[in-house]
């Protein structure tokens, strides 16, 4: 209904191949970007920033990373939280070891460190797939968390066993630490999220993305067209872990400020990100955004409604939330295995064909 595509034709492959080939989508994208950079910071309060917007942005990055692994390459991982922890601890170690290093660089380096760890734990994927691989990633989850809580070097021998983020600034603005403003944190997360989404899109649209998807859809056929499965799978692990690591770095660096591996990066967080990817849509960049938004907003919404609205006990609301998420996963897998993104695609298709039904 909203789309007006007559006369919107392509005269080059570059324009045919762009991320938003339809004029209307392109406009909507720029409006959203402008709103995120110009409007949101003006109206964003601390509560909304901390309970929704910032976690949302960070989870988007994590979900993008996991989606590259599961959605694009078809490799199941249950160790996302551990890799986030790697990013967080790398940030802690790097920034305490090199206090002068620009904090954004620290975040990126933390991503790279995670990347290396990810490749290490991805090695079994060459021999195994499916649930078997899930077990291997579980090993990463439990082993790494154990490492971070038991080996004192990782938390600089702090007596509490916690890591806490020192204050760091960029361009004269305090980004991390207790006195960082929520606007600074918001912009940091936004910049990273937009940049990472852009990276993800670029990597998935070209040869690399097709290599991954080929492995996902049919590994035998992928080999026959010359895909080296080793490189395809490990590169996916590397890229995915980079994203997850940056998300972990941001979680610790700008969002939590202090963390303990066993608590902040427990297996439940792995599942949460997994659910974001499933509900949002496997193999879809947009899906990572939708899934993260949904699962960040849902608990807040439930809490607002049940606890603040009806005066329910908080734990009851939380249990209901767990139940709803579980049921939703099942419903999504039954109704639309490709999640909200596919749902959106269907709606968009309908809008484009309007008034025709199909």
């Amino acid at each position: 209904m909203l789309y007006r595509e007559a006369g919107d034709f392509k005269t080059s492959y570059a324009s045919d191949n762009q991320t938003f080939p339809i004029r209307f989508d392109r406009a909507a994208y720029w409006v959203a970007i402008a709103a995120a950079f110009l409007v949101v910071p003006m109206v964003l309060g601390d509560y909304w920033a901390n309970s929704i917007v910032i976690p949302f942005l960070i989870y988007v990055i994590a979900a993008l990373g996991l989606n590259i692994l599961i959605g694009y390459t078809g490799l199941l991982s249950l160790g996302t939280a551990a890799f986030m922890a790697v990013g967080a601890y790398a940030t802690f170690k790097l920034t305490t070891a090199f206090p002068g290093m620009p904090i954004y660089i620290v975040f990126l380096l933390s991503g790279l460190v995670t990347s290396a760890v990810g490749v290490l734990f991805g090695l079994p994927s060459l021999k195994i797939k499916g649930f078997y691989l899930a077990v291997a990633t579980l090993a990463a989850q439990f082993f790494l968390i154990w490492l971070f809580t038991r080996v004192e070097w990782f938390y600089n021998y702090s007596p509490t066993g916690q890591i806490s983020m020192p204050e760091r600034s960029m361009f004269g603005v305090i980004i991390t630490g207790a006195s960082a403003s929520s606007t600074a944190v918001y912009f940091t997360c936004l910049i990273f999220t937009v940049a990472m989404a852009w990276l993800a899109r670029n990597l998935t649209r070209g040869t690399m993305g097709r290599t991954w998807m080929a492995i996902r859809d049919m590994d035998i056929a992928a080999e026959i067209i010359g895909v080296n499965p080793l490189i395809a799978k490990l590169s996916s692990f590397a890229v995915s872990s980079f994203f997850v690591g940056v998300a972990g770095a941001l979680t610790f660096g700008v969002y939590l400020g202090a963390a303990e591996a066993g608590e902040a990066f427990s297996i439940n967080k792995s599942f949460l990100v997994l659910f974001m990817v499933i509900i949002g849509g496997l193999g879809s960049i947009l899906g990572s955004f939708l899934g993260a938004a949904f699962l960040v907003v849902l608990p807040v919404l439930l809490k607002l409604m049940l606890v603040d609205g009806f005066g329910w006990p908080a734990d009851l609301a939380r249990h209901l939330e767990v139940m709803i998420i579980g049921a939703l996963i099942i419903v999504v897998l039954i109704v639309e295995p490709h999640g909200m993104a596919a749902l959106w695609r269907t709606i968009k298709e309908k809008l484009r064909l309007w008034p025709f039904p199909h």
Partner: protein
């Protein structure tokens, strides 16, 4: 005999007990995987749910009392009676069978032709759902479970070992019972699958899906059947674990441990599940015993997975599993 060996022996024996828990959960996995190719992540939560339900029946709790209270402002908590363990167990079995029916009707039926990975993720969803449901139905606090299995230090073991080695092993009586019950359960399953019509159907399906379907075995019936059996196995595991350390959320985490057990034992082998569970139970205790001084404690958290990882790399089909040959 040196003290170290004795202590290690004691730790290993204790590991055996934990191992049985793993085995029981893994058994549930294998049953479902064999019959339907579904990797049921919710098996551990089913044990938790069964244990919660059992305690609820035994103590006469009103299901959903928290929810009812929250919505209607009522103050219900229990019916004011207790139920004999025997009756409560039977009722819980009924609930587990109902649950199996519902799962088949509401979930599996709609996912018949999906890829295994989708089904796997659906069972993760199921696990979450059941976990939330259990908590909402019966409350989330840690509960004591007592169905009359003797507990506490087995003085017989203590005395015997003292007499033998001059050092009394601490073994929980419950562990001995667990061993016994697990043995009975496995024997029962074997008898069931060998000598009953349903059991034979089950084996037929496990051997060859297509062939079984073509001779008129209803897949849906088989699914309900296996999920029911898995539910009962989960109940047994829940009773054991609950009696030992109370019914609480951590119970569902053994489900995860069952994964490496399966890797060791093989996804399709019932003896494999049992042996794998025991191996891991003993192995992690021994590893922790010897390595604690070197790398610190709590290695049980990851030992099983790393062991599985090594297995995956060198013997992906597990100890007892069938070799997977891919055809082009």
């Amino acid at each position: 005999m040196s003290d170290t060996v004795l202590f290690a022996l004691e730790a290993g024996l204790n590991g055996l007990t934990v191992g049985i828990m793993y085995s029981l959960v893994a058994l549930g996995f294998v049953l479902i995987f064999k019959a339907s190719g579904i990797f049921n992540f919710a098996q551990g939560v089913m044990a938790l749910f069964a244990a919660l339900t059992l305690v609820g029946f035994q103590t006469g709790q009103v299901p959903f009392s928290h929810l009812i209270n929250a919505i209607f402002g009522a103050h219900v908590s229990d019916f004011g009676f207790t139920m004999p363990a025997f009756l409560a167990i039977i009722l819980t079995v009924v609930v587990m069978v109902l649950l199996a029916l519902l799962i088949e009707r509401l979930v599996l039926k709609h996912l018949v032709n999906q890829e295994p990975i989708i089904l796997f993720m659906a069972t993760i969803g199921l696990a979450y759902f059941l976990e939330g449901l259990g908590d909402i139905m019966w409350g989330a606090e840690v509960k004591r479970l007592d169905v009359g299995i003797p507990q506490g230090m087995s003085s017989w073991v203590d005395e015997t070992t003292y007499n033998l080695f001059g050092y009394g092993f601490y073994i929980d009586t419950l562990s001995l019972w667990a061993l016994l019950i697990a043995a009975v359960l496995v024997t029962g399953l074997v008898v069931f699958s060998q000598y009953t019509k349903q059991g034979r159907a089950l084996r037929a399906v496990a051997d060859d899906h297509q062939a079984a379907l073509s001779v008129g075995i209803s897949l849906r019936f088989i699914w309900v059947l296996t999920w029911s059996i898995a539910g009962i196995v989960a109940l047994v595991a829940g009773i054991m674990w609950g009696s030992k350390s109370g019914v609480q959320f951590s119970l569902s985490l053994i489900a995860l441990k069952a994964l490496p057990v399966l890797i060791l034992g093989g996804f399709t082998s019932i003896p494999g599940a049992i042996v794998g569970g025991l191996l891991i139970g003993v192995g992690e205790k021994l590893f922790d015993f010897f390595m604690q001084p070197v790398i610190g404690g709590a290695t049980e958290n990851w030992f099983a997975y790393m062991l599985a990882l090594v297995f995956l790399l060198f013997r992906p089909q597990g100890l007892f599993g069938e070799r997977i040959i891919e055809r082009v």
